[in-house]
Each structure stands twice: as C-alpha cells, then as structure tokens.
C-alpha cells in the first residue's frame, strides 16, 4: 500500500513470499490446470487423443497440429476479425464513455440519476435475451453479417461499465485542480484533456482491458449477427469446431483455444507493468 524502499531480499521477505505463494497455490493450480490440459491435448497426435487411460504426455509430440489447425479453421482471418472488432469497440467505447463519465461524475444536471439507473439497467439484460430484438434492429439497418454490427452492439453493452469505472476515478481527483484550471480560462474540453485524463490512466487501462476481453471472447451476438465464415471471430470459429459435430477434433480445438488465448495473456502481461505503475502513481497522489 505505497512505496517501500527496496532492500536486498531478506530472510523475512523470502519467507513472506513463500507464505503468499502457498496461500495462492490452490488458485494457481486450478487456474493452470485447464491450460495444462489444453497443451497436453494440443500436441498429441490424433490417434493418441482418445487413448484410455488418459495420459498427460503423449508418446509422440505433434506440433504440426497447430499448423493443421491454422489452415482447417481459417485461424488467420478469424484472428484479424477478432482484433478489428475488439480494438475498434474499445476505442469507440472509451471515446463515448469519457465525456459521459465526466458529465455524470463532475456535473449536476436534471435527469442525472435517471441516466445512471438507465445505464445500470442496460447491464441487466443478457444478450441471450435480447438476441432476437438486436437481430431485427441490425437487419433493418442492413448491418447483418457486418463486423460493424458487432462493434455497435458491444459498445452499447460495455458503456455502463466504462462510464461507471471512469466516473469513479474522476471522482477521486480533487476538484481544486480543475477549479484552478478553470480560473485560468480552460474550457471543459481542455480541462478534460489536460488534467483529468492523464490522472485516470489506470482507470482507462482497466476499462480498456475489460472491453477488449469482452469483445474478444463474446459468443452469442457474434453467432447471431455474423453469417459468412470469412467474417467469423475467433470464438465463433473455435466453437464451430465443437458444436453439433458428428465427431470433435479435440486436438484442433485445444490448439485453437491456446492460440486464441495467447494474445490476450500477452496483453495482460505487458499491461500489468503499466497498470502497476499507474496504480501506484495514483496512490501517491
């Protein structure tokens, strides 16, 4: 909870680390278990996938599975689609949420409470429930089988969380900073850009991760709104390997899931450092 002067690792530091890892171990194991299963299955040759009793390490390792899967699934195209949709939605969502968060966090206006409640309400309806209506809407707009339909829908579903998150962070920034800038003649927009945003980078980061993940992994809406397989997102493409099939090619499925989760895990790992620094900075102020 704050800065500590770094010492060389003392005995108590090592003991503390060991203790913490011990406490975390059940979660670490249950989290890593499915990944181990995925890796173990993804590198097995087809004939060994279904052996009984099941073994962790196959007799032959077949990295070719990944290549086969890439072609069979059209992984490259699906990856591009997922990336396009996720990045665009994240950008759009932040663009729309920031002004709204500023308004609800800093300003008073009639209907503010209703707006906030409306946002909360939008979270309460699962896409499964709204699928038919959304589809009819998109069909009227002629957006079926367009990635834009997904972008718009995902943005709408994520706005509530984004606005909530950003507004909470805006609230932690002392109003005096803004007041001083306003006295200097800064407009609302300038205050937003030069003061608030830099200080809420951690919140932006967290929101961006959340929205990106939502889009990357979303299934029901993508299934309903996308038609041609060239437009499929990764989640859709992988699911089509499993759902309603006469025979499931598990080695391909696991390989595909691994490759689909890898970019996200990498994004996590890199944003972690940034987030930690950002969160710590936020704490110092």
């Amino acid at each position: 909870m704050g800065l500590r002067i770094s010492h060389p690792p003392e005995r108590s530091y090592i003991k503390k680390s060991a203790l913490y890892w011990l406490c975390l171990s059940p979660f670490v194991i249950t989290t890593l278990f499915p990944f181990a299963v995925m890796i173990s299955t993804a590198i097995k040759p087809r004939a060994e996938v279904l052996t009984f009793p099941p073994v962790w390490l196959a007799k032959h390792i077949r990295l070719q599975n990944f290549v086969d899967m890439w072609h069979a699934v059209g992984f490259g195209q699906a990856l591009v689609n997922s990336a396009l949709v996720s990045c665009t939605t994240t950008a759009l969502c932040l663009l729309v949420a920031i002004p709204a968060a500023y308004a609800t966090g800093r300003m008073q206006f009639r209907g503010k409470r209703i707006f906030r409640q409306f946002l909360l309400v939008t979270q309460m309806l699962s896409p499964v429930v709204l699928v038919l209506g959304i589809f009819r809407l998109m069909a009227t707009l002629g957006l079926v089988d367009q990635l834009w339909a997904l972008v718009l829908a995902y943005t709408a579903f994520n706005l509530a969380f984004a606005i909530w998150m950003l507004q909470a962070y805006f609230g932690t920034i002392p109003i005096e900073l803004e007041e001083a800038a306003r006295l200097d003649g800064a407009s609302t927009f300038q205050r937003l850009r030069l003061i608030l945003l830099p200080l809420t980078l951690p919140a932006l980061g967290v929101t961006a991760i959340f929205v990106f993940l939502y889009c990357w992994n979303e299934f029901v809406l993508a299934l309903t709104l996308l038609r041609s397989s060239q437009k499929f997102t990764l989640t859709l493409q992988i699911f089509s390997l499993v759902g309603g099939r006469y025979s499931v090619e598990w080695d391909h499925v696991m390989a595909a899931t691994l490759l689909a989760s890898a970019p996200v895990a990498v994004v996590f790992a890199s944003l972690q450092r940034y987030l930690v620094r950002g969160l710590a900075l936020g704490a110092i102020k």
Binding site: G2, S17, W21, V129, A156, T235, W250
Partner: protein, 308 residues
C-alpha cells in the same frame, strides 16, 4: 497552475457549459444504449404480451397470460431456486475469495508479477471455451481430472462428474467462481491502490493493530468497490449462459437448468418465443428489484459513514 498557456474561448464557457454541456456529453452513449438495448427491450415487452408464432410474428394481444402460464409451469420454481443458489454461491464465493487474493497481490513479494498474470488467466479464455475444456477434463472416462485424482490415490473409481446434478451443479458453481475471480480481484486491486497512505501512518502512530487497520480503515474505504464487484457480479452471473450450457445443457432432466438456459430452450428449441419473452422480463424484474434494494441499503450505509 498559472504556468498553463491556455486560450480562453470567446463565449463565456461556464455559462454555456452549465446548461447544455452535460446533455451533449451524454448524448452519444444515450443514443447507442437506447437503440441497441432499448429497442430490443421494447420488442421483448411486445412479445411477452402477445401470442407469438415460432418465428416471431405477433398474433394477438393477450395481456399477462404468458406470465401466468410461465409461473404455472412445473419447471419454473425449480429453475428459480437453482438460479438463486447458482448466483449466491458463485458471487459469494468469488467475492469472499477475491478479497484475500487482492490483498496478497497488493503486497510486494517475489514473483508477484507472475502471480498476478496467472490469477488473471481465466479471463483470457472465453466462457464457452472454458466450459468446453473443463467438460473435456471432467469426462468420466478420459478426463484428466479423474486421471490425476486416481494417480494421486484420492479416488479409486472414476467419478462421472457431469452425469448427475448432485456432482455436476457444484462443479459448475466451482468453475463459475474460478472465472469470476479475475474480475473481482481487478476491482479490489484498483480499490486498494486508491487508498491513501497517510491514514495508515497516522493509525500506526496511534498504535492500531493490523486487524484494526483492516476493519476500520480499509474495509469502509473499499466499500464502494465491494459494491461494484457485488452488483455487477450478481448481474453477470445471474445471466451467465455458456458455462452451464456447454457442460450439461441444463440436464439431466433439467436438474441443472437455471433461468437463462431454460430460456434458450424455450426460445430456440421449442419455438415458444412468447414464454421466453415473459421469462426474460421476469428475470429482468428480479435483477431490478435486487439492484434497487441494494442501492437503497448501500446509500443508507454511506450516509452513516459520512455522518461519522
């Protein structure tokens, strides 16, 4: 602050800003959410009060008859109970477990960065895929869970985890908790990072113990974040479809069906769009009641805190 080289706008921005600026700022988000969620919601209300054909054509207005039929269905009460058990267990378990995890991850220790990434990993995989992988791992015959437990000597016979509700439902709840932890941990970490140091220094000078710091400083200050985690989790978990669907499809014999899986069957297997619409609204109302009650309780607590 006088160091800013700023251009002041011609119009007196404060006066202009006070009246229309807020509405302009919220306009885009209002527009998007209103159309993409409001319109389907209206569609839903329409379908729930009419007789609807299998393919969504409205036939005749029948008021609340759909709701009456729905509640009279034998499966309704069972699904309601299971949905409540599911939501309370998953959210409760996730929040209770996430707090200590967040506290640990907030401390400095060797390999902390790796630990953070690992705990966040379930989030990187879509719920559908998580369900598929666990279903494969839980397979009675060739699943790795049974194989591992067998090798460790914990069990002697393979357990058919997903064959009956007695084992399948708890398994689904456990996995639900596992995938909800990253979100709650993130929220709590954010909260912990926002805690100011000075009060802890002051408390320590006053001789407060770690437990007292936790109970009287950290916990109250984290309350808004706990609120966010609880409310959002309840909403997401209540509506969570992929996990249960992929693992058991709500069976055997509807024994693991919660509202949302039953809803899918009603809408897309049986083609009873009117009942499905009615059920969606029932679910919506339940969540609405919950959030309003919670907000009222939370606000009352906040005002107590403020008065202190």
């Amino acid at each position: 602050m006088r160091g800013y080289a700023l251009q002041s706008s011609g119009i007196n921005s404060t006066q202009f800003g006070r009246t229309t600026a807020p509405y302009l700022l919220i306009l885009p988000s209002l527009f998007l959410t209103f159309w993409i969620i409001g319109y389907p919601l209206w569609d839903l209300v329409n379908m729930s009060t009419h007789a609807v054909t299998r393919f969504g054509q409205l036939k005749g207005f029948i008021g609340l008859a759909n709701f009456a039929h729905l509640i009279a269905e034998p499966l309704f009460s069972g699904c309601l109970v299971r949905t409540l058990i599911w939501t309370i267990s998953v959210v409760g378990g996730s929040v209770i477990l996430s707090m200590p995890i967040a506290l640990i991850l907030n401390e400095k220790f060797a390999g902390r960065r790796i630990a953070r990434v690992i705990i966040m990993l379930p989030w990187a995989v879509s719920l559908t895929m998580t369900g598929i992988v666990w279903r494969w791992a839980m397979d009675g015959q060739s699943g790795m869970v049974n194989a591992t437990l067998f090798n460790l000597g914990v069990i002697r016979q393979p357990i058919a985890w997903l064959a009956t509700a007695g084992t399948a439902f708890p398994v689904e709840i456990a996995i639900g908790i596992l995938v909800s932890i990253p979100f709650s941990v993130t929220v709590f970490l954010g909260g912990l990072a926002s805690l100011p140091n000075e009060i802890y220094e002051a408390a320590r000078i006053d001789g407060a113990t770690a437990w007292q710091c936790w109970r009287h400083l950290t916990l109250p200050l984290l309350r808004p974040f706990i609120n966010i985690a609880l409310v959002l989790n309840v909403i997401y978990v209540f509506n969570s479809f992929p996990l249960i669907w992929v693992m058991t499809q709500g069976d055997p014999a509807n024994s693991t069906d919660i509202f949302v899986t039953w809803l899918y069957k009603l809408a897309f297997r049986y083609g009873k769009l009117d009942s499905a619409a009615a059920l969606s609204l029932v679910m919506f109302v339940i969540l609405l009641v919950f959030t309003i009650t919670y907000a009222v309780l939370a606000m009352r607590e906040e005002s107590i805190e403020v008065r202190r």
